[in-house]
């Protein structure tokens, strides 16, 4: 009962300022302010933790150039230029391979029996193991990051695509049988729409896992790239740099997700439900669950 | 036997979205019922029948007006059968019965068993609602409502989600149970045939939540739809519905 009833609004919430502050956007804004203040407090408490302004300043200098403790600055774009192609090649490969394997697993029950247990082990294998192995195999260079991305992301794409294939309801197949729907129309109108959603979820998986993987591999086995750069500051005990790069990693993944993947996925899911301008918890939740199965190691 | 007294009841729902209009679900309804009666509340969908029952049961509150349910001057006990079974899916049939019981464990069990037997579910005590068919679930709902020995029994279209054959047999069971217990019943339906078959009195609501008509049905039980008197009653009420629709059309221009 207490859940079903809402509290009565106090007078504060009726004033214009109160209404703005208690609106959705007000709540979000407040949360960011609280976050920044919390960070600042933490920085004051723990000496090693840099504050928000210090970090922002570091990021700015990393972009604009200069010199810090003998380390040349301003190669921000160069490092991204090294990392992004590795990330993109690995991602594309795992997407293609994962889709093919996933379709096989989803549609042929023998393949499913053959691969499901092994896939479980691969899903559980942490990315850092692949990073260690590929560094030993290929030494320092571009190969270790690329292969780490492929080896850690592919199983997740495969699992998602397989789920999508399996999710097409047998009732709809039977309905199509009853109406004698031809094979290619069935593929286009039934299978494809059902699988696209899963395909995009798979892609988002791959992006987060792959990003983590490329960072790890560069951390341990590269001589350039953003992961290597973060390690440089870590080894130099410059925590500003370390946290600064952590922020850059997060911002990168958010931008990629918000500007590229999310809009594409929304288009693919148009038929699901009408757009809502409320904070979309369910959407976030589906992603979270997807991400929850990621090997972050 | 309980007395239900509704005086100048009005219910308005607030608008859900900004700029939306509030919904007037019930507008100035008054009526009274008491004793061993089976009263049906008939009306088109959306005319406020469920809202009325919710207010009577205390689940919802009136905007204006008063609703009192008394039993010899005291507050009456209520039983409620909903349109859907509304069973706790994570509890067995017996646990669902015990959930609404105020008796001691042993007594409660015996009592629940008695009513489950009445609806023919003595074998289903340990089953979960998910293991029962829709008709069986609704039977549990009916047994649950009777099991609290209510002074006033509220029923909100209890058979409308069921297939015609199951609905018919449950209607007959309800008739038998009512004859055995003679509860005061307020029964909501949109089905005129069902109303004529079961009730002593039929109150018709119009769109917008006003009382349109209030008649008694004095036919002997059990009633048969093939009986000419039955058919005449049904035709009369349906005829009034036509008048109501015509008036509405005229008002709409």
């Amino acid at each position: 009962m207490s859940v079903a009833t809402r509290l009565n609004r106090p007078p504060f919430k009726r004033s214009p300022v109160g209404r703005a502050l208690t609106s959705q956007w007000g709540a979000r804004l407040t949360s960011y302010v609280v976050f920044i203040i919390g960070w600042q407090l933490l920085a004051m408490l723990v000496e090693r933790v840099p504050g928000p302004w210090e970090t922002l300043d570091f990021i700015w200098r990393e972009v604009s150039g200069g010199d810090l403790g003998g380390v040349r600055r301003g190669q921000f774009l160069e490092h991204f230029g090294a990392t992004v192609p590795r990330f993109a090649i690995g991602l594309t490969t795992s997407f293609v391979v994962g889709t093919v394997v996933g379709i096989a697993i989803g549609s042929v029950s023998f393949v499913r029996a053959l691969l499901s247990d092994v896939l479980l082990v691969f899903l559980a294998l942490p990315a850092i193991i692949w990073a260690f192995l590929t560094v030993m195999w290929y030494g320092l260079g571009w190969e270790a990051p690329v292969y780490t991305v492929i080896l850690s992301a592919t199983p997740f794409v495969a699992v998602n695509v397989a789920q999508g294939v399996r999710a097409v309801s047998p009732e709809l197949h039977r309905m199509s049988d009853a109406f004698g729907v031809p094979r290619n129309r069935r593929l286009r109108s039934l299978m494809l729409p059902a699988v696209t959603g899963y395909l995009f979820t798979g892609l988002r998986f791959a992006v987060i896992i792959g990003w983590n993987a490329v960072l790890l591999a560069e951390w341990f086995g590269a001589t350039d790239g953003v992961g290597w750069r973060a390690r440089l500051w870590y080894d130099a005990a410059r925590y500003r740099g370390f946290i600064g790069w952590a922020i850059i990693f997060i911002v990168f993944i958010f931008l990629l997700d918000g500007l590229v993947l999310s809009p594409i996925q929304k288009r693919a899911f148009r038929w699901r439900k009408s757009a809502s301008d409320e904070v979309d918890l369910e959407h976030g939740l589906a992603d979270m669950e997807a991400i929850a199965k990621t090997p972050f190691l | 036997m309980a007395t239900l007294k509704i005086e100048n009841l009005t219910k308005t729902f607030h608008a859900h979205s900004k700029g939306g209009l509030p919904t007037r679900a019930i507008q100035d309804i008054s009526f009274e019922m008491s004793g061993q009666v089976f009263v049906s509340l008939v009306g088109p969908s959306g005319c406020g029948k469920s809202t009325l029952l919710n207010i009577v049961s205390g689940v919802d509150t009136p905007s204006t007006g008063t609703v009192t349910v008394t039993q010899d001057g005291k507050k009456a006990r209520l039983g409620y059968v909903f349109q859907d079974p509304r069973l706790l899916p994570w509890r067995t049939v017996m646990q669902n019965m015990l959930y609404v019981s105020d008796l001691h464990e042993e007594e409660g069990r015996a009592n629940a068993t008695k009513y489950l037997e009445m609806v023919g579910l003595e074998h289903a005590h340990e089953m979960y609602p998910g293991q029962l068919s829709g008709g069986m679930q609704q039977r549990v709902g009916i047994a649950r409502a009777f099991s609290v020995s209510p002074d006033l029994l509220l029923m909100d279209e209890p058979f409308s989600h069921l297939d015609a054959i199951t609905a018919r047999s449950l209607r007959e069971e309800l008739q038998v149970m009512w004859n055995a217990t003679k509860k005061t019943v307020l029964f909501v339906t949109h089905d005129v045939l069902e109303a004529v078959q079961l009730s002593n009195r039929i109150i018709t609501l119009a769109h917008g939540g006003t009382v349109f008509d209030d008649t008694t049905v004095e036919l002997p039980f059990p009633r048969k739809a093939s009986d000419p008197d039955f058919a005449a009653h049904q035709a009369e009420i349906l005829g009034r519905f036509e008048v109501m629709e015509a008036e509405r059309a005229a008002a709409a221009g």
Partner: protein, 269 residues
Amino acid sequence: MAEAATLEGTSRRLAGARLRRASGVVLGWGAFVGLWAFTSSVILTEFTLPGPLKVWDAIWVIVTAGSWADDFLISISKTFMGFAIAVLIGTPIGYLMGRAGYWKAFFHDGVVGAGSVPGIVYAMMALVIFGIGYLGPVLAVGLISMPFIALNVAEGLEGVDTDLLKMSKAFGRSERQSLRHILIPSILPFAFAGVRLSFAIAWKVEALTEVFGSSNGVGFQIRFAFQGFSIPRVLAWTLMFIALLLLIERALAVLERWLFRWRTWEQEE
């Protein structure tokens, strides 16, 4: 008669399917181990990718050395500590999010954002804040699990069937009875799913943080083996850890199925 015949036919068909599945599983493992052995001896070398036998030897050495249990225990204790913190913080946040639109909007970005941050970032943050020690991995686990628990509790609360609450009120049940018989049973499956999901990632982040900086635990052992260029030992520790976690995972899944057995019946209907 006819019925008995079809029943028998059905059970034979089912048995056939089960046999095919079992043989597929066995074949799958065989192929996996075979491919592994082939890759290590023909494509790569025993040094760069040690074969199954070599890894098995390494596992044997670790097990007979005796102190492996300490490393597992310490890693698992860190995981559960972090987990407990995540539950303690995540549950109230989820409760607020499920109950009020304001809190939902307030926490949404942070919670969803925190769930999509790469694990390496958490490991780094934990190191900066706590340095090398017991608390680093605990913090990392807490940070990464909290969003899942919060979101699942919120979803569970939002999904509570208000019609059941109305039923409860109509029959004059008290708030406490509604809480016990309706609210908690509806949230529990979601909370459990949250725990299971986050457990699957929690241990990975825990081990990762140990790899980055720790003086004990499985992650430390993996790092130690890596620095000694002993790939067999890297793989041995990893596989042992995975085996243990899959076991815990399975146990949780069984427990979940038993706890929420009413759900399967609901779906079958």
